[in-house]
Amino acid sequence: MAAPTVFDELWGTSRGRKARPGLEPLAAWLAELPPAELDRRQQAAEAAFRSLGITFAVYGEEKAAERIIPFDIIPRVFTAREWADLSAGLEQRVRAINAFLGDIYGPRRILADGAIPADIVLGNSQFCVPCADARPPHGVFAHICGIDLVRTGPDEFWVLEDNARTPSGVSYMLENREAMLRLCPELFEILPVEPVDSYPEMLRETLLSVAPKRARDPVAVLLTPGHHNSAYYEHSFLADNMGIELVEGRDLEVDDGVVFMRTIDGPVRVDVIYRRIDDAYLDPLVFRPDSMLGVPGLMAAYIAGNVSLVNAPGSGIGDDKAIYSYMPEIVRYYTGEEPKLHNVETWRCREPQALKYTLDNLEKLVVKPVDGSGGYGLMVGPTASRAEIETFRSALKAEPHHYIAQPTLALSTVPTFTERGIAPRHVDFRPFVLTGAEEVKTVPGGLTRVALREGSLVVNSSQGGGTKDSFILEDGAEGIA
């Protein structure tokens, strides 16, 4: 059972007695749908996902090399007001991230002004030395950001992580909606849900808007590590929906600082690369020499301004966990405003006092490596074993600068279909923010991830989490139906 104070996205704190304003139709729908029918639709969803081949590989699990992410058909709903506040906060944060990246790879005013310590930028393993002084076309670095949020109360949203490298999951947002439209069409009659299907078009416009200025009829491609990558399905889905080529490193070649793709009709010039491979693998001449995934000469072409890379190399420092803890300062510095979205309280273990606090409270905290992602290598104190805690204790003492610690939050729950009926499960939320040459936009939706195990707080799909559709209600929705 979830702790009594946990906020539920459908019921608020009423413990199942009264739906939150605007969500009453969903509560009524749930109450009226016979369990057998719900069960049937849940099965149908799984069959559809498997037959479409929507799979997700889990690293370190050879047997389950291709698994579908469990999909739960009970949606998570945001009201129009909640969304308006959230998207304003998201856009503010992403503007600040882009200003920050442009600054640290350029004049470094923020460091000169002492707003944040210089060593966390210049000494950061994510700081891209070959990117210093490279100006991406139109000055945008992080074109696509997936900001991970959690909620603990009616107005309490917290940013967990800013994914500024190559955030994934947006295809699930779109496929989940498809599944919901097919399996529960009546929900869209009783709830005024904002559509999400414009996302591929928005993304395509964003990509083309940041093409180098000389390109008159720009060609964009999506660069994937290949079909053994865990997110390959998403890569192919997005390329397909945008009508652009899905290329691998071996399909591209750089000739005299210009990127071409090899086609059946000969070489074709490429202007924008939406790359879904990490910086380290982009170009064996500049980064890892053993990389077979990238393209020799790509960085030179980028620095020469002949090709746009989305996101730009070096953006990774924008979601570094050490930088994260300074995000409030960064937002204030570049926007002159107070941050609309809050960070989770974070102890930087590089600071002696924070380290001491962390070591004294390990069983209450979540400890994360600063350069980790995907829920790997983190420790959730309240559920960790004695041995795990001790392992982290020694690791923290050995390399304190490597870790941050955060309180364990009482993540909000959403009613979820389980083997023993409908029960609350913890969720987080990843909306997607696009930054083009002209504007910053957020698609009205996102990926809700759900921890399917009772009481679990780990929602990562790589750790066996599932997903739900996320409904954003249209303005004026409160009180409809």
């Binding site: 081949g53 086609t263 059946i264």
Partner: protein
């Protein structure tokens, strides 16, 4: 279109065709071996292995040849590069890598065919094996249907091209094995066993009714040869495959206004075949002729790879 995508599509065409051929081969061999004594049954399975060039791969295992071991090897054998499972796995891998160039329908047919065979541990008895290949064939037919409903652009042309090359290769091997290996020593040409075997071959290529329509008489080996080599009406004949290769290459040429070595080779082959009759082929030696065909088919395959920069 990316050259690599084109290569994947071409190989989807080849592997799906090869998988379907393996299904037909297993099906027909089960029927054939049911007709005679055990020794003849083993012989039928040995021929089936040699049709797909898998005799040696099988011999390397320390497993005696029995109808069961042969059925397992031809359907599920991962050590057999031409087993149904291996072909479908390869088709699906290519399909995954070229997913954006496929329709959902085409992808689903390939994926479903793969799911049928993926977790199968044993082919089971003869009837269970027949059910298995029937299930796979239903999906490969679904694939052909879905391919026919795709946009008629490069994507579908490459898959058609691959299957036309593969089909020619398969039919030529089938005929070759019949002539050289099928008949056990001591059996007379034209005997009962011989006739059963020819009839089995027609069944493999779904041509029993077609034969009756076109020749209206008893089964004659040279007429079966005529049907499977020269009759353009017969979809799996060598001439029909050669024609299809020319047609699909011509579609590219019409789009780009350019031709290459593959176009020339394919047209030359078709022109030569249109002037042939079955008597001439048999006089020159069917085995030699079929071998030359297989080699020429492989040369066209290489020319296609060069022309569209597959490598």
């Amino acid at each position: 279109m990316l050259s690599r995508t084109a290569a994947h599509l071409y190989w989807i065409g080849r592997y799906m065709e090869r998988a379907e051929f393996a299904c037909r081969l297993v099906e027909a061999t089960i029927r054939l071996s049911a007709l005679g004594h055990q020794a003849e049954g083993d012989h039928a399975w040995r021929s089936a292995l040699s049709v797909v060039g898998a005799e040696r791969a099988f011999g390397e295992q320390s497993e005696p040849l029995t109808p069961f071991s042969a059925r397992r090897f031809l359907t599920l054998g991962e050590e057999n590069g031409a087993s149904i499972r291996t072909c479908l796995a390869a088709a699906r891998n290519n399909a995954r890598a070229a997913r954006t160039a496929l329709t959902v329908e085409v992808w689903q047919a390939i994926n479903r065919a793969w799911l049928i065979i993926r977790d199968r541990a044993s082919p089971g008895g003869a009837q269970a094996t027949l059910n298995l290949v029937e299930d796979v064939k239903a999906e490969t037919r679904g694939f052909e249907g879905a391919l026919g409903r795709m946009l008629r652009t490069e994507g579908s042309w490459f898959m058609h091209l691959g299957s036309s090359i593969e089909r020619g290769d398969n039919t030529a091997r089938l005929l070759d094995v019949k002539y050289y290996l099928l008949l056990p020593p001591g059996e007379e040409v034209g005997g009962t066993l011989d006739r059963d075997q020819w009839s089995t071959i027609l069944q493999i290529v779904s041509a029993r009714t077609a034969y009756r329509h076109l020749y209206q008489g008893p089964l004659q080996p040279w007429l079966v040869g005529d049907l499977l080599i020269l009759r353009g009406e017969m979809p799996r004949s060598l001439t029909a495959s050669a024609e299809e290769t020319v047609t699909h290459l011509a579609a590219f040429a019409a789009r780009s206004g350019r031709q290459g070595a593959a176009d020339r080779l394919a047209r030359q082959r078709l022109a030569r075949m249109q002037d042939l009759d079955i008597e001439t082929i048999i006089q020159r030696g069917l085995h030699e002729w079929l071998h030359a065909y297989i080699a020429e088919n492989a040369a066209i395959d290489r020319a296609i790879a060069d022309q569209f920069r597959f490598a």
